[in-house]
Structure formats: structure tokens, C-alpha cells
């Protein structure tokens, strides 16, 4: 058993998976908290699924599917801003359109590509054990950029997120903050695809911040708490993928749901003991 454990940690791909889950959790903590606080869950779901269009085209052309996904994710995020400007189209409708548009493009090109596509499954359901060293370096870069952005502009981000209209009356460059944050969201989504897959990614963006929000209302604490929650779920995901050969995404989601239920239970026990004390 011990020997198996030691051997497990000696594999390069296992090490990559662990490093990636730490970095991903940092990103999920920062970005997921913002997404949940600003109610951008549906928007993030749209960006996630639309990025499949990029996967499909890159697949067809023999390019790196994650690079294709990145292009589509960023274009979708920016496209939504353009489409909903002047309120010509309501945001949720615009999201619905781009969501299915991206998926349609993806399916179209996957079917145009000759041959069987077994690896495609890993983009849909996630396989954290396939993360390469290059992916890890890209994650390091994105994590550093995002951390610096949050550290430097923390209050501007918080106050903008709370009330964009007021921030605008105070001449805060709201367009700049919004666009940078949307691009970061899009890139974090793309980097999470490898780990949990397109279909289940939304849970990683939502559940950790919601677990955290049960215990605290302070934004900084929500960020660090959801980092922990996401970390736990990804590690459970790695272990189950390795030993039982199930897709990482499913394991991560089930772990997150269980953590959420435990958190709810703790809260309700705490509340009922408070009531009986009083």
C-alpha cells in the first residue's frame, strides 16, 4: 500500500495534476467568488460551452484544442458585451444564443473530422491526469497575472462588483475593470476544461464560493475558503481518476455537492444549538 502510494507520487503526470489543482484552486477561489457574488453563473456556463466551438475547429485543423477553446471563450465573453450594449438584446438571451452557437460549431467540425475521436471525451468530462507540463506553466502564468490584478485592484473590483452604476458616477474606469475580469474568467474556464471538462465545469465555478458564503460574508474570506473547497474536490478527483479510472469531472462534482451538504448541515446544527441556548 505504502509502496503504491510512493510510486503514485513519483509519476510526472501525477505531480503535474497536483500542482495544477493547487493553481486551479487559486484561480477558482478568485474568479468563482466574483462570479457568484455578481451572479455571473449563467454567463460563465455560456462561455464554457461556447468554447467547445474552438475545440472542434482546432481538432479539425489539427491544432491544440485548448488554444482553440481559449480563442472562442474570450471572443464569447467580449461578444456578449457587444451584443448586450444599448440593451438591444437581453443578456440571458444573448448567452443562450452564444452557448448553443459554440456547441453547434464544435459538433459540426468534430463530425467533419475523419476518424474516431476518443480523446474528445476528456474535453467534455475532464481528465486531470492528462495535464502536461506546458499546461502547468501556462497555469502558473495565469495565476500570477490574476493574483497581481486582484491584489492591486482589490477594492476597485469589490466596489465595482457591488454597484457598477455608482462606480461609474465616481469616474472609475468601469469598462476597463469589466473587460479585464471577463477575459480572466474566460481564461480560467479554459484552463479548467482539462481538469473537469466542459459539461461539469460550472460546478467548480459555483459550489466552492457558495460553500464559503455559508460561513462568511467577507469577500477576502470567501476567496480563501473557496480555494480550500476546490482544492479538496480536485484532490479527491485525482485519486479517484487514478485508482478507479472514472472521469475527474464527475468525481469533483460529487465531492463538491457532498461538501456543500455537509456545510449546510453544520450551519443548521449551529443555528439550532444557538436557538436552544437562547
Amino acid at each position: 500500500m505504502l509502496l503504491a502510494m510512493i510510486k503514485f507520487f513519483e509519476y510526472q503526470f501525477v505531480q503535474n495534476a497536483f500542482i495544477a489543482s493547487v493553481l486551479l484552486s487559486i484561480l477558482i477561489g478568485l474568479v468563482g467568488s466574483y462570479i457568484v457574488a455578481r451572479r455571473l453563473v449563467f454567463l460563465s456556463g455560456g462561455i464554457t460551452h461556447a468554447s467547445f466551438g474552438g475545440v472542434g475547429i482546432a481538432w479539425y485543423l489539427g491544432l491544440n484544442p485548448i488554444a482553440g477553446a481559449a480563442v472562442f471563450a474570450v471572443l464569447t465573453a467580449l461578444g456578449l458585451e457587444v451584443l448586450t450594449q444599448n440593451k438591444k438584446l437581453r443578456e440571458d438571451s444573448a448567452i443562450g444564443m452564444l452557448w448553443s452557437f459554440g456547441m453547434a460549431i464544435g459538433i459540426f467540425f468534430v463530425f467533419l473530422t475523419p476518424g474516431y475521436a476518443p480523446n474528445l471525451m476528456s474535453y467534455l468530462f475532464g481528465d486531470i491526469l492528462t495535464i502536461s507540463s506546458t499546461d502547468v506553466w501556462l497555469l502558473v502564468a495565469l495565476s500570477i497575472i490574476t493574483l497581481i490584478f486582484y491584489a492591486v485592484f482589490y477594492h476597485a473590483i469589490l466596489f465595482y462588483a457591488f454597484d457598477p452604476n455608482y462606480a461609474k458616477t465616481q469616474h472609475l474606469p468601469v469598462v476597463f475593470i469589466n473587460i479585464i475580469l471577463k477575459i480572466i474568467i474566460a481564461l480560467v474556464i479554459v484552463f479548467s476544461i482539462r481538469a473537469v471538462g466542459i459539461i461539469l465545469l460550472i460546478s467548480l465555478l459555483t459550489i466552492p464560493a457558495n460553500v464559503a458564503n455559508l460561513f462568511t460574508n467577507k469577500f477576502t474570506k470567501i476567496i480563501s475558503f473557496s480555494f480550500l473547497v476546490s482544492m479538496i474536490s480536485l484532490i479527491v478527483g485525482i485519486i479517484f481518476s487514478y485508482w478507479f479510472n472514472v472521469p475527474t469531472g464527475a468525481t469533483v462534482v460529487l465531492t463538491l455537492i457532498i461538501l456543500y451538504l455537509i456545510a449546510r448541515l453544520i450551519i443548521s446544527i449551529r443555528n439550532s444549538t444557538r436557538l436552544t441556548k437562547a
Binding site: H155, F159, F162, D163, Q170, L172, N213
Partner: protein
Amino acid sequence: MNEIKLVSVKNVTAGYDNKVVLTNVSLDIYANNFIGIIGPNGGGKTTFLRLLTGEIKPFSGSISFKNDMSIGYLPQASQIDKKFPISVTEVVLSGLIGKQGLFGRYGKNEKQLALEYLKIAGIENLGKKNIGELSGGQLQRTLLCRALISQPQLLILDEPNTYVDNKFEGELYELLNKLNQKMAIVIVSHDLGTITSYVKTIACINKTLFYHESNQITSEQLASYNCPIQVIAHGPIPHTVLLEHNHKH
């Protein structure tokens, strides 16, 4: 007059999505002004304030501001998300965002300042609370603190008396009187009887703006400004502000 002109609105037409709400509006706002805005529902009062805060841009005409002018704004029904994870103190601090800017840091001094404003609003014990836990009136007071904390040159209040109790409403008007020595104030209210005893001048907004250079206004004048508003006086009014003419209705 050596009064400083803060805002100059000239022949402005404005609205939403090509729907015109205000036409041909002109008004100059000076540093010592205390303007009460009245008018019927849907007349365009909030739209006018949004022009002043820069939230919307005019279709035509021009609005010019004094250099480095700062604005504090209390929105009418703000679109604030009460589930947002932010504390009362943080909301008040967010009023400093214009001064502190993109890179702003909020340390001891700023938090002390926020506390002082919470005291003024009588909610100093709520600083740590999340905004989701506040009553309507407590939230209104919090947002008032946010508008005041930057000590703006122009304070814009859209129906600040909604949600708050009578006692605080009275305190608020006294406070505004004092603040007016340092800043211009523009306030929207449907409570004509009360505001006219505090404001210096009145603007009636109904599709356009009529400026009335006094705080005393008659029903006839209101009618001539095309401002069909009901004048109800609550309780004893400090001094007669509404000149009653012989009327026949």
C-alpha cells in the same frame, strides 16, 4: 456674483433607447445652491439626475462640469443586490472610490471616517453587518453615508426620505442645511410641503425643466409650469411656504 459654477446644462434632450424623456432642459448649478426638484411620476426627475451623474449621456445639447468636480449620489431605488457579500462599512468606504481611484487603499483613517458618517446617520452599531441583514431604512442611511463620505462638491439625492422614519427625516433635513454651507445640493422629493422650507430654489420637471428662483411657490405657478402635483402639507409647517391664493376648486 462670484459664485462658482459647478454644472452647466444647456438645451439638453435626453432619454433611453431613442425614447425622448426630457427636451430642451437648461440649468446652471452653483456651489451654494440647494435645489428641490419636484414633478409627477415619470416626469423625468431621475433621468435628469442621471445626466448630472454622468450615468447617461444627452441625445443633444451639452452638459459641462467644473474641473475635478466631485459628486455624491443617493439613487432612488438603487439596483443594489442585497445578497452581495459586503459589509455596511465597506459600502460606505466605496463612496471614496472617486478620491482613492483604481489603486485605492483603505486603511485606519478611511475606516475612522466611515465610522464618523455612520454615527451621523445613527447606524454606528451596524458597521460590521452584511447589507443583506439591513432594513430598508437602514440601507437607505448606509447609502446616504456612501454619498456623503467623499464630501462632494455636489450632493444629489433622489427621494432620500423613502424608507426612513419621520425622526430621521427631520434630522436629515437639518443635516442637509448644515452641509449646504460646504456643498451644493440637489434633492428630489414628492413631499413639497416639507422640502420647500429647506431648499432655496425649486425646479419642476415634467418632460422639461422650469426653474423657480425661490422656495415659495403657488398652485397657479405650479400649473403654469405644467407641474400637476398634489400639494399636501403634513402637520405644522415651520413657516408658510406655500402661498395660498384665492382659488376656486
